[in-house]
Each structure stands twice: as structure tokens, then as C-alpha cells.
Symmetry: C2
Amino acid sequence: MFPKLDPILHSELRLAVISLLAGVESADFTYIKQQTGATAGNLSVQIDKLSAAGYITVEKGFKGKMPCTTCSLTPEGLEAFRNYIDALKEYISH
Amino acid sequence: MFPKLDPILHSELRLAVISLLAGVESADFTYIKQQTGATAGNLSVQIDKLSAAGYITVEKGFKGKMPCTTCSLTPEGLEAFRNYIDALKEYISH
DNA sequence: ATAAACAAGTTTATATTATAAACCAAATTT
DNA sequence: AAATTTGGTTTATAATATAAACTTGTTTAT
């Protein structure tokens, strides 16, 4: 009746990150931080978890001389996001 | 951009309880436990939190000789549920 | 009548999670 | 060259979720 909600996605900040990434090719740390309003520490941790789950890829490079961490959604991440939305609907739409 | 998700409702079990109660006049502990598949201990704690938040009312009585705890959604609970759904949509529908 | 098993929860202990504070290295500004 | 800013990471703490253990009373079996 109530399907299990993927605990990786059932987190306000991680969900926001995935939601953001679902709409774009990729996004860098600073942009995600700004868009979500998260603190850097929290975002760093949550990005690690999403990455460890295989839901996003993280590439570390430089923009000019400044370090720049770029994230993008993996196909598994997108599928997990869709599954999560479907599961949620069981909770919110009856 | 990403609205805050009410932490009282952003919990798998509490959300299931509210979702269940949103569809009925009232429901008792045992029924909620069975429908959600929760353990009694977990359900007891989460019902307390929902009650403390004013989202549900809890009435303790007897069904025959057996104790029976009956829960129902308050108007505030229903409104919080609706707000939560609206907030969620900002995360899942773009 | 008494012991064993069951029902309906509650309390408490533990594991997990979320979050911010403190920190670090390099770059930029003054 | 000192101070500040950028772009993060690590670590410590607070909050949450969850199950295990317990309680109170009831029903069933002996």
C-alpha cells in the first residue's frame, strides 16, 4: 500500500540537488549551493552520498585557476528520481 | 526556489499515517499499524509527534475490554498535508 | 485457579541522518 | 606581504528513525 521511499532521495537537500540536476546537463558546486541555499559543509556531505549511491557523477577540475566541482545526474539517478516520485504519489494522491 | 519541507511530515511513516487519515474519519492504532506495516514502537512514537504537532488527535478508549487508541486528522493536519504536497511539487515537477 | 500466550501499546536504547562549525589550501585583493 | 575571499572538506553535535525490551491487562489452556 505505501511503497518504501528511497532513503537516499528522501532528504530535503539531496532531493533538491537531484531535482536541480534533472533539469540541466550539469551544475557546479557553487551554483547548486546558491540555488539550494545549503551550507557548503552540508552540500559537500550530501553530494558525496549521492555520488556513492551512483546517482550523480562528480568531476573535479578548475575554472580558470579556481577549483570547480561539477555534478551531473547519472541514468541510475534519473531512474531513482522517477521511482521516488512514483512512490511518493502513493502517499499524496489518495 | 526549493521551499522548506515540513519536517513533521517529511518522514516516511508519519506521512503514511497522515495520508491514511486524510481518507477516513478516524482510524485506530492497530489498523494504522497493519496498513503501514510499521512496528508498534515506531508507530507509537510517530503518533505522539503528530499529536504534539497538533496534526492529529488521539483518543484512548476501549473496544470491549481491550484498550483502543483512535486517531483522526485535525484541520491543521490537513492543511499541513496540503502545504507539504504543494512544496513537494516544487521539487518533483520541473 | 493458575500459568501460558496474546493484545495493545509505551519506554528506552541504539543506529542513522542531517547539519553546522571549524578547518584547510589556494587565489585574490588591499 | 598581510588580510580576505573562494571553494571546498572534515569533524563534532544535534536530531531522527527504528527496533528491542518492557508494561498492563486479557484471553485461553491446564
